[in-house]
């Protein structure tokens, strides 16, 4: 148990000492997570809405592909992105490999299918007739879509939180395309791997605690939001 106690002490000490290295890791973690979650929302939410709220030929295939994409191991996504961005790859000329941008691209490919799949499920739970009702009051197709997303907001929020969670806890993809370069592309998860390899379990655990705190804060916000809007939710 001593190792756990030491980890907590180390984490608190590191945070309060203002270790530049630690804060840099946290900052990169947040930057990559926020950019890739935002990009995941931009790509995934409209696709999720279309899958959940409309009927078209090939929809089932698209849903099946999306569900498969949700389950693709991050390391495979990292491999594919790496192949694209490597010097011999089709996008090698961009020189993005081992940068935060490369990490954001890989993480976006992880978050977008999750956000799309869960948004589709949330929007599909909004009755079609509710949208018809909005249409009958003068809503355009876009206004109708926004209303459906608003009605399904808890589910959509949970989709975004899941996308963020998948990104923030991912290690394989960011390790492959980011390279875990200190001060540049090192994030909390890759730092944990690095410190564990060095045998510095205390620091690794401390970083793990910080990661868990971020996840807890995210879920805490979701729970608070859910309860604060309970009055307006369907029972």
């Amino acid at each position: 148990m001593q190792v756990f106690a030491e980890a907590v002490v180390t984490a608190v000490t590191l945070l309060f000492q203002g270790s530049t290295e630690l804060w840099n890791v946290i900052a990169v973690t947040f930057e990559v997570a926020i950019v890739s979650t935002a990009a995941g929302v931009v790509l995934g939410a409209p696709m999720g809405f279309v899958m959940g709220a409309t009927r078209f030929r090939g929809r089932r295939l698209l849903v099946a592909l999306m569900n498969t994409a949700m389950a693709v191991p991050p390391v495979v996504i990292g491999l594919v992105v790496m192949m694209f961005l490597s010097r011999q790859g089709p996008l090698g000329f961009l020189g993005l490999l081992y940068t935060k941008d490369a990490m954001s691209i890989a993480q976006t490919l992880i978050s977008a299918p999750i956000i799309a799949g869960l948004t589709a499920a949330a929007v599909a739970s909004v009755p079609y007739k509710l949208r018809l009702q909005a249409r009958s009051l003068g809503a355009s197709r876009v206004q109708e879509a926004l209303l459906a997303l608003r009605e399904a907001r808890l589910g959509v929020l949970a989709a975004v939180a899941s996308g963020f969670g998948a990104v923030v806890r991912g290690v394989g993809a960011v390790m492959m395309v980011g390279g875990n370069i200190e001060g540049q592309t090192r994030v909390l998860t890759t730092a944990i791997v690095q410190e564990s390899r060095k045998g510095d379990f205390g620091l690794a655990l401390a970083l793990g605690l910080i990661l868990m705190t971020i996840t807890f804060a995210m879920n805490g916000f979701l729970t608070w939001y859910q309860h604060s809007n309970e009055r307006f939710e369907r029972s």
């Binding site: 509710l130 909005a134 003068g138 009605e151 307006f232």
Partner: protein, 370 residues
């Protein structure tokens, strides 16, 4: 609070409307016409295509074939300006998450009405439906009747030229339904909007509508003024659906001073009318206009000209009321009798009764007119 003026209703017409889902034709209606300020009740059993026809007429969904005319102008579901002249409320109120005011003001916000005017319009609409001061309540905690009132306010606040109501009362309990039907009828009358009212309840239709159309398997089987259709349905199926007696065939044998005598084969029925002697006609009487007395009872003097002896052939219990079929000289008449009366008169199949109804309660139509 300033009361906004209500724009007058406009006509809504459609011709050759056809809609299919897969291989199944759900609507195939040659013509629908609602005059400005008039209420048309669209009746029919479940699955008859009523809601689909409402969605097409309300420009919410496209038809496969046919034309919709609003105020004489051809319109489609893509015509937003036309859609903005209409508003609808459905069987389930489908209130949005948020407060009552959020819901009622939804359409006004889409129309970019300024917040001050919006607040006042919402307050006025809520007052109209008997929910004054309910703005800040959560919409999803309301009872069925309250939610339906909010749904009506949400449509009324837009001052639509055409109001579409799709079975707005069918999910409510009878007590609230009765009260709301009266309120809806009063509001529709006072607002003088053109209204399409979908229902499967003929009483509700009679309470709110001027004209009615009856759909069966997507096809209009009857269309016309409410009294005419309910008083003399065009065929046996419609009569059964409306709970009325079957139309009887006969021939005018006397005609004088606005009163005709129609021989229905063994009995002469008097009716208000002026058809010439020898004219072949159909006649019908609403079951609630037909009174029954015991076979040997002394019937008090009254203005009812039609008095016949008959035999009860069928008794159906419809809850508080019983629907009786009585054979009068080979012709079936229907009567609706209270549970208590059935018990008191000891009515059952085979009972001998006297059938009494006024000439003014009899509807006559020349055969082949429809």
């Amino acid at each position: 609070m300033t009361t906004r003026t209500t724009p007058a209703g406009i006509s809504l017409q459609a011709t050759g409307i056809r809609k299919t889902y897969g291989k199944r034709t759900v609507v195939d209606v040659a013509e629908v016409r609602i005059e400005p300020g008039e209420t048309l009740a669209l009746l029919g059993p479940s699955g008859a295509g009523k809601s689909t026809l409402l969605a097409i007429l309300g420009l919410l969904e496209p038809a496969d074939e046919g034309t919709v005319l609003l105020d004489g102008r051809e319109v489609t579901h893509r015509d937003k300006a036309a859609r903005l002249q209409m508003a609808a409320a459905f069987q389930s109120p489908y209130l949005f998450k948020g407060t009552v005011a959020d819901n009622v003001s939804y359409g006004l916000r889409l129309r970019r009405m300024l917040s001050g005017a919006r607040r006042s319009a919402v307050a006025e609409a809520l007052e109209r439906v008997g929910l004054a001061g309910w703005e800040d309540r959560s919409a999803l905690t309301l009872s069925g009747g309250e939610a339906q009132r909010v749904a009506l306010a949400r449509a009324l606040v837009l001052r639509p030229r055409v109001l579409l109501l799709d079975e707005p009362l069918s999910s409510l309990d009878p007590l609230i339904k009765g009260r709301l039907a009266q309120d809806f009828a009063r509001i529709i009358r006072e607002e003088s909007m053109t209204t399409l009212y979908v229902t499967h309840d003929q009483n509700e239709a009679m309470a709110v509508a001027d004209t009615m159309m009856i759909l069966r398997d997507g096809v209009a089987v009857a269309s016309g003024p409410v009294d005419e259709i309910t008083g003399l349905p065009p065929d046996a199926w419609t009569a059964t659906f409306l709970g009325a007696g079957e139309p009887l065939e006969g021939e005018v044998v006397s005609s004088a001073e606005g009163l005709v005598g129609v021989d229905i084969g063994g009995a002469v029925v008097f009716a208000a009318g002026s058809e010439a002697v020898g004219t072949p006609v159909l006649l019908g009487v609403r079951p609630e206009d037909v009174l029954l007395f015991e076979g040997d009872a002394e019937i008090p003097q009254s203005t009812a000209r039609n008095r016949f002896a008959g035999t009860v052939t069928e008794v159906q219990s419809w809850g508080a009321m019983h629907h009786m079929t009585i054979d009068v000289a080979g012709s079936p008449f229907a009567s609706r009798v209270s549970r208590a009366s059935v018990r008191e008169l000891g009515l059952e199949a085979g009972s001998f009764v006297q059938v009494v109804f006024k000439a003014s309660a009899v509807r006559v139509r020349v055969r082949g007119d429809r």
